[in-house]
Amino acid sequence: MRDTPQTFLLDGVPVPFHEGQTILEAARAAGRYIPHLCWHPDFPPHGSCKLCIVKVGGRHVSSCAMPARAGAEVESDTPEMNGERRALLQMLFVEGNHFCPSCEKSGHCQLQALAYDLEMMTPRFNHFYPDRPVDASHPDVLLDFNRCIYCELCVRASRDKDGKSIFALTNRGIHKHLVVNAESGRLGDTDFSGDDLAANICPVGVILRKRVGFAVPIGSRTYDATPIRVVAMQSEDGEGA
């Protein structure tokens, strides 16, 4: 038996929800966008990127994981929350090597699109410039670890949908990084395929198809004309191309 819809307030506007829905799911169902990177509609909440952070009753929570509660007052699209999201993006940008002009994902990249949407003008912090060699061993797919944001979407897709468990995160804290499940550590020595869901789910420019680079010119890409807050609500799976 389905319960009658209850509501919570998202930035002062009532949003209906059903028992078991998270704040982010209910907001999406009501056509309200809450920024996110590691959340995907086909997977359980991951709660690692913290971009979907909202304030509920004065406390910070991840809206992708927090069940909606009747009468809750949720703050999301406010200068304070967007400022905190911008700071999170800035930390992601300086922690890896995100050089958009030389990245094939530029214009299709959700990290970049969120930074546009939140008007991130500067990385603000000092860059780490980590040394992360690329893996070009696979015939159809290039791995550029420089851009990894540890959302684990490829890990989850490969394990839970493709049934291959090609990817994993290893180590902790600043030493955390993406690894490939092969004796050699190389993607070319796995049964990874360009048709795997894991090959097509990366929100940034880590997992890239070979031989299709710049088929769509810079300036004509997903988020060049349309902001992510619009694209994310249009597409059926909640993600851009």
Binding site: N97, C100, P101, T122, P123, Y129
Partner: protein, 181 residues
């Protein structure tokens, strides 16, 4: 034409490719209207070599050597408002791709190890500025007031930014004008 004194603008390309300066010129004839409000001090456009007191300083490129540090600090001292113009000034950009490499090994690879360079040597003329071990965005060296990302920021974006700044509006570049590529 207004009688107000013209604002002084200085520009420089540090570890950049002059692409942002070319993009500046992409504002085409609008530069004539701008010149009724501003005049250039040190800039590749005037070939003036030292920077005087200025209202606005535009910095293209990151900081890759000792001379860049010197020039950048001089711009900061002399300019009321300092702007990081373009991807390299904002995050190091293309020159910063060498940051995970050892600069000594880079120099050896370029000047000694390549085929046909037997007997070569790393240039050590005292006139040459020493390279830094890493390329830095300008905000890691001096305080920066505004950032204009883009590789390069378009002529439209530079024009809008400067127009806002010189007429006292808070410059704001948002989607779809805001680009990192």
């Amino acid at each position: 034409m207004s009688d107000a004194p013209k604002l002084k603008v200085a520009t420089v390309s540090l570890a950049g490719c002059f692409g942002c300066h070319m993009s500046f010129l992409d504002m085409d004839e609008r530069i004539l209207g701008l010149l009724e409000r501003i005049e250039f001090d040190r800039s590749p456009l005037t070939d003036i070599k030292t920077v005087g007191r200025c209202d606005i300083g535009l910095i293209e490129g990151g900081v890759c050597n000792a001379e860049n540090v010197h020039v950048l600090r001089e711009f900061r001292r002399q300019c009321h408002t300092l702007v990081a113009l373009g991807a390299c000034a904002v995050n190091g950009g293309l020159p910063a791709q060498r940051n995970h490499l050892d600069v000594g090994q880079c120099l050896q690879a370029v000047y000694l190890s390549r085929q046909g360079l037997e007997g070569g040597r790393v240039p050590d003329d005292p006139e040459l500025p020493l390279p830094l071990d890493k390329v830095h965005p300008v905000h890691e060296v001096v305080r920066v007031d505004y950032f204009l990302p883009g590789c390069p920021p378009s002529g439209d974006v530079i024009f809008k930014f400067l127009s806002d700044l010189i007429t006292g509006r808070t410059p704001r570049i948002s989607h779809p004008a805001l680009h990192y590529d």
